[in-house]
């Protein structure tokens, strides 16, 4: 609807093919931030309310919604291509060790591959240290919340801003990884005039729009996200060839962090995997979108204070259940368990070294998460008391059933849309039915009109 600010079919995280949308509304109610409306039989999105969870991609039966990632053909051929690999990728290949998968990526044309293992270990040491140091101060915001799932952090910024101080202020593993790459790999190429592209190989659409987290600053070097499902079949062909040729998978890269992998990192792809191998006693892991929202409500109401650290993942079973994965999450989970069996769970980085980096402030986030509240939901003006009263009045009058036929996800959101002038009261079929029966409503009186306009 034209009066609604910042409404598009696509967002920074998802792409929308209008011709495929049947207006079935399967996406309407599952959006956790209520960013979706149906207008003129097509789904539209309030752009700055999209947090990149991917729920609408999963829900769409018509294939109209996809992630704003690039495929293999989107890799810039004149760039040195560096793949930053989520450990979820390894779990897609039963019986193949990470080295084989990384070698497959090299054969697909990536010049470097970077594994997450060291950076997850660094993050875990730093998180443990932060909690150890703050444990005795009751004024600290307990429980702390894992910063690893960016969808969770955006959800908090948008819907639970009072919980932003709970987000553990330690740089995420992927940020540590990108920093190391920029420090150790990229300069060697740029100094020789070769442009570099960073490609995040991801199980979820959350990275694609990450640039919109820092609106305005174009990423340097070139960055893009590739969904695991974007490259799976081609990578599988390469990996199968590696296996057939009886080669010992070794990609021959320069730095150890480019090739190594660990059971710890593989486990991190699973729900509960981040905390399972951390030296913190009072932890919890919660996965799934609805469960995450429910637990954030609990924390906001003052519960769960006895816990020190909570790992949230909005995808079922954790990152293995990401919407851009290729393999069933339960099969992938089994693969992870097998990898843990082979590698064990030991860490390989010395704690002392990491603590020295911690002392130097190397793990401090470069961005205050409170900044995100200005990016998500910024287009919504605050409701006045008078408007809030009208919302309640509309709700009482329509006595609806959250059917969604009006094109808003539920009656309350519809009432808010009506009061804000973004929807017409006449779109409510319940109200319409009662009018047909001849029952008057308060909105028949012109003074209390819902101000809705029909576009």
């Amino acid at each position: 609807m034209s009066t609604m600010a910042g409404v598009r079919r696509s967002t920074g995280f998802v792409r929308f093919k209008e011709e495929r949308c049947t207006g079935c509304a399967a996406c309407l109610r599952i959006c956790p931030t209520k960013a979706i409306r149906i207008r003129h039989q097509k789904s539209i999105r309030i752009v700055d309310q999209c947090i990149g969870c991917g729920a609408c991609i999963r829900a769409c039966p018509a294939g109209a919604v996809s992630a704003a990632t690039i495929g293999l053909d989107g890799i810039r051929s004149d760039h040195v291509a560096i793949a930053l690999v989520s450990p979820v990728l390894y779990a897609q290949f039963p019986g193949v060790m990470p080295g084989g998968v990384l070698l497959g990526l090299h054969r697909l044309g990536f010049h470097h591959t970077v594994d997450m293992s060291f950076f997850l270990e660094m993050f875990q040491y730093a998180a443990e240290e932060f909690i150890r140091r703050n444990r005795r101060s009751p004024g600290s915001p307990w429980p702390l919340i894992s910063p690893i799932c960016p969808v969770v952090v955006r959800l908090i910024a948008f819907q639970f801003p009072s919980l932003l101080p709970h987000v553990l202020p330690v740089l995420r593993p992927v940020a540590l990884m990108a920093r190391e790459v920029k420090k150790r790999i990229i300069p060697a190429h740029t100094s020789q005039g070769r442009p570099v592209g960073l490609y995040f190989i991801n199980p979820c659409p959350t990275k694609a729009g990450a640039r919109s987290d820092r609106r305005g600053t174009p990423p340097e070097p070139h960055e893009a996200a590739i969904g695991i499902n974007d490259l799976f079949s081609e990578l599988k062909r390469q990996v199968d060839q590696v296996l057939d040729s009886d080669m010992i998978p070794f990609s021959g890269s320069g730095f150890e962090f480019e090739t190594c992998s660990s059971g710890n990192a593989a486990l991190g792809a699973m729900s509960g995997g981040e905390i399972a191998n951390m030296d913190i006693e009072k932890t919890l892991s919660v996965h799934g979108l609805q469960e995450t929202v429910a637990y954030l409500h609990k924390i906001e109401m003052g519960l769960l204070k006895d816990f020190e650290y909570i790992e949230f993942r909005t995808c079922r079973e954790g990152c293995l259940g990401g919407v851009l994965t290729a393999v069933d999450p339960y099969i992938a989970k089994r693969n992870v368990q097998k990898m843990v069996g082979v590698f064990g769970l030991g860490r390989r980085l010395p704690r002392d070294t990491i603590l020295r980096l911690y002392e130097k402030g190397q793990f401090q986030p470069d961005q205050d998460p409170r900044m995100l509240t200005r990016l998500f939901g910024a287009s919504r003006p605050a409701m006045s008391l008078e408007e809030a009263r009208r919302v309640e009045a509309v709700l009482e009058d329509i006595e609806g059933r959250d059917c969604g036929a009006c094109g808003s996800p539920d009656c309350r959101t519809f009432a808010e849309d009506v009061v804000r002038g973004h929807a017409a009261l006449a779109d409510c079929i319940w109200l319409h039915a009662r009018k047909q029966e001849g029952k008057p409503t308060r909105f028949d009186r012109p003074t209390d009109d819902g101000r809705g306009e029909k576009s």
Binding site: Q159, K298, M301, L303, A382, M383, L385, A388, V391
Partner: protein, 143 residues
Amino acid sequence: MSGLRKNFFIKARDFIHAGEASIRIQHLLKTMQFDPHLVRRIAVCSYEGEMNVVMHGGDGSLCMELDRDVLWLDISDEGPGIPDIELAMRPGYSTASDEQREMGFGAGMGLPNMKKNADDLTIESLPGKGTRVRMRFFLAEGG
């Protein structure tokens, strides 16, 4: 212009739906974009108030009244009442059953938490008749 008033019924022993009134109030305050810290204080108080009724109070109700510069929470129940209010306000004092403690409730922090988070709090209680807790929050500018 009058304020906004909302009434929520609270059912005794209904642990599944406990907290819903609090979530509705939070949603309202968030759409009005009140200061997150203030929203949180009100969330804690409405939730603790709701839980007190669910655990001890028999059926009851939570009434929220929002005006320009003040928000009231008025929670009343038809429960057994509180014989010694001073004792009930003491942190850690609880009359919760073992079963309720096993469910993770009954730490004896309900009323002290409400007192800490509300700008002021009054309790009236008649043993055998019920309890009424009124809390007031002063709203900052904006919203």
